[in-house]
Symmetry: C2
Subunit: 132 residues, 2 copies
């Protein structure tokens, strides 16, 4: 059994915290944990906008706190994000997320993120083999 505390990770295990200027992500579970998915708690800064395209991963995102929106860039459709709303990128959907208030999200990735990925210019993570 693995037991991890978000609050201890952000104090003592900064290697599990990945950030850029306008978002940060606390990796609670990574590929090495052997669960077959990874689990992250991700913060998007109030007023920020992000375009991502996980070509090689499925991701689900559950809003725990905050307010914003997501646009499916294939259809142009925009959905409100608020606590209790989940979106799942079952078609590796290219999308833009906007945070009106800071968004706090519970994210699952399949295949699991290894922890070494960086967002590429096209908003994707490389497949695991390119990170190896």
């Amino acid at each position: 059994m693995i037991v991890r505390d978000f609050n201890k990770i952000i104090e003592n295990e900064r290697g599990r915290v990945v950030s850029d200027a306008h978002w940060s992500s606390v990796r609670m579970l990574l590929a090495e944990d052997g669960m077959g998915f990874s689990f992250h708690v991700t913060f998007l800064e109030a007023g920020s906008e992000h375009t991502f395209h996980y070509k090689h991963h499925y991701e689900s995102v559950y809003c725990m706190q905050g307010k914003g929106s997501i646009t499916d860039l294939a259809t142009g459709e925009t959905h409100e994000i608020k606590p209790g709303v989940m979106y799942a990128l079952d078609q590796h959907d290219r999308h833009t997320v906007r945070a009106e208030e800071e968004l706090v999200m519970a994210c699952c990735f399949n295949p699991p993120v290894t922890g070494t990925e960086v967002h590429r210019e096209d908003g994707s993570y490389a497949p695991a083999v390119e990170n190896a």
Copy 2:
């Protein structure tokens, strides 16, 4: 892209809500969604105690709200559960969860739950093939 709202599910899609007397689970994502994992928001009633043993599934559980504890029945070790604590059953660990206050948990299962499983007497879910 799949977008679902917890609050609309509990009003309009009761088929996604599974309960017994002391817990209920809202299935935000199931096997049929094709993500390779399922994602549930689960409530454990204040004062309740539950012994589970997911012999055929990996499960991670992230505490969003409430207070309680988890005991690993293999080692006897007990860990506090509070917001920000996650446990992951990477060894299919048999465990007892106690809710001092109502616990609200974000749960991921691999393989994904189909939605038709019931807890068996030993606290497990059957493997998917037995549910088919």
